[in-house]
Amino acid sequence: MAGSDHIGARVKEARTAAGLSQQALAERVGVSQAAINKLESTPGASSRKLVEIAKVLGVAADWLATGGSGDRPKTSAPDRTAPALPQDQQLELYQRMVLVREAELAAAEVFAAGEIPGFIHLSVGQEGFAAGITSPLRPDDTIAATHRGHGIALCKGVALERFFLELLGRAEGLCAGRGGSMHVADLAVGMLGANGIVGGGLSLAAGSAMAHQVRGSDAVAVACFGDGAQGEGLLHETLNLAALWQLPLLFACENNGWGEFSPVERQFAARIGEVASAFGIESVCVCGEDVAAVAAMTGELVAAIRAGEGPKLIECHTHRARGHFEGDPQRYRSEDDQQAWLEKDPIAYSEQQLATAGVVQAQFDDTRADAKARVAAAVEQARRGTLPTFASARAGVYAPAGA
């Protein structure tokens, strides 16, 4: 869609897309409804509040100001403000993100050394999503991850040692060395698996939600999907099914801007929040850089789902720091884009926030050192793991009677 041709028209376009009235926008920005009305209807008019407006509408201020390349705004609008989290919770989120980061950086090294077979997809730069989305979940809540699922696995409670044992293809691994990075799963902690099929986890999570519902439990299922899955038919089928059945299901979109080798703008013509709205599913959009915001917003949605409000959707904007897969030369991506994540690093942002609240650098250093030590020990343990036997794999195709 071509961008509207003046500032006010672009404000109106983004406001409409966000489902906000002029009055609602005015209240959030702190101006009168008349001012918004005048801005929208007067070509050439601008506003000193453009940055605030952009923030409320979840679009780039420079797009509002200039129209940019003419593309429509990329993000959905946050329509709620996340409540503040207590500092101890923020610290815990920080620690989880650091553990995921250190685990993945170690995995990259071990992979480069040829000790991890196949290929791996890292979520470096996106840890705010994994830590935030999983933070309000109980052990009996369930979650299906994407192929980029290491963070979700570790944050949902998968043991670090068995995680690395699986990546290295060892018999003691989570999946006995039969799944690897793309299928890390631990059903005992409600982790329904990373998935090798884009969008494949969506309906599995819906089924898990159905199981919670049939049992009369107040457990919640979470269906993670990337922006690359937005074009998959299964997503739209699952949104419909979840809405019809009022499943206790949270759709969690991890939008890192890239569907494999192509930017999201070239893969999806809609905005996922609007698609959810079409099914009557409430959605929110948060910045994945801010783990506390992700956690707080997810906490509100999960509580509402538990209370019987039916499915919800959260879209979380992140930046993919590395290639689609480890070793991806990323010829399709500019150097600037590859470096952009450094400005949006959720760990750095979390440190800033915590430092403002009085947490000292030594505590960050300790957290990192502790994570590095745990990861190094897990990698060592994985190296010592036993290789799986073919006979045991061959015997494991069918579940035995009574399983």
Binding site: A176, G179, L187, A211, E237, L244, G396, V397, A399
Partner: protein, 326 residues
């Protein structure tokens, strides 16, 4: 005690109801299966007895239906899905092939996938190329899936109870032409073990290996040839994956002549696998070439005349038997 006159479709519905009474984890879902009672009336009455949490009408969305059923199975339910026509399973292939079939193996045996997908195959209704196919060989080709195909009311009941109890995903194939066929159902009706064939008719001159609706055709053909003194054994496979290789080999060892007969396209089909195995492990038993009788390699045509010419029938089976007996 045995109840006579129980229709094939009714036997399936009875198995569903009995399984649901026995285990609250059994749920049934599919297009028009609750309020409407199913396209072929199989699930009639279940909604009233078990309620909308356990008997669910779905939107027309096969990928999500089978995917959700797989997730529910991983979550401890025992879902039985109805896919209205086997042809529509094309839309659910990821859920079946990449998710359900592999979860037990791929996750290292963490949780079983006790999923049943019931679906009708077969022609004879002039339903055309997209509502008549026999695609069971596709699923028999996938490690992790089981495939069964009952031939009468008792086997439909027994195999469905076994499929629901099985910790693995089972494709339960129902031939459309059998729904109205009446048969005997023992009371209480037993579960039938998956993977065991049964001898539908003992004989000594040649073996017909078959399944589903073709069993009745094979029996008629055998009766006709019996009038000429030819003694044909009919083996009803019941299960296609795993299939009862030992029973087929034992029959071949008695008759030394074997024809596989099925409604599906012959090329790369169930018969191809059976014949290939018998050519290997049964080579010393053979007194004649192994033969397959199935549909020609073409889509199922619509018009009455074309479909009749397409469907493998008693005439084709008889010709093949005469060849191996020559």
């Amino acid at each position: 005690m045995t109840v006579a006159g129980v229709r094939f479709g009714k036997a399936i519905g009875t198995a569903l109801a009995d399984a649901m009474r026995a285990d609250p984890a059994v749920v049934v879902l599919g297009e028009d299966i609750a309020e409407a009672g199913g396209s072929f009336g199989v699930t009639r009455g279940l909604l009233a007895e078990f309620g909308p949490l356990r008997v669910r009408d779905t939107p027309i969305a096969e990928a999500a239906i089978v995917g959700a059923a797989t997730g529910a199975a991983l979550g401890g339910l025992r879902p039985v899905v109805e896919i209205m026509f086997m042809d529509f399973l094309t839309l659910a292939m990821d859920a079946l092939v990449n998710q359900a079939a592999k979860a037990w193996f791929m996750f290292g045996g963490q949780a079983p996938v006790p999923l049943v997908v019931r679906t009708p195959h077969g022609g004879g209704l002039n339903a055309g190329p997209q509502h008549s196919q026999c695609l069971e060989a596709w699923f028999a080709h996938i490690p992790g899936l089981k495939v069964v195909c009952p031939s009468d009311s008792a086997s439909a009941y027994g195999l469905l109870r076994a499929a629901i109890d099985d910790p693995n995903p089972v494709i339960f194939v129902e031939n459309k032409s059998l729904y109205a066929a009446a048969g005997e159902l023992p009371e209480p009706a037993p579960s039938l073990p998956i993977g065991q064939a049964r001898t539908a008719r003992p004989g000594s001159d040649a073996t017909v290996v078959t399944y589903g609706a073709c069993v009745a055709t094979a029996l008629e053909t055998a009766d006709r040839l019996a009038q000429e003194g030819l003694d044909i054994e009919v083996l009803d496979l019941l299960s296609l994956q795993p299939w009862d290789e030992a029973a087929v080999l034992a029959s071949l060892a008695r008759t030394h002549r074997l024809v596989v007969f099925h409604e599906a396209v012959t090329a790369f089909g169930v018969g191809a696998e059976i014949v290939a195995r018998m050519a290997d492990v049964g080579f010393d038993e053979l007194d004649a070439p192994l033969k397959r009788v199935g549909a020609p390699f073409m889509p199922v045509p619509f018009s009455r005349e074309l479909e009749a010419a397409f469907q493998p029938n008693d005439v084709a089976l008889e010709a093949a038997l005469r060849e191996v007996l020559a």
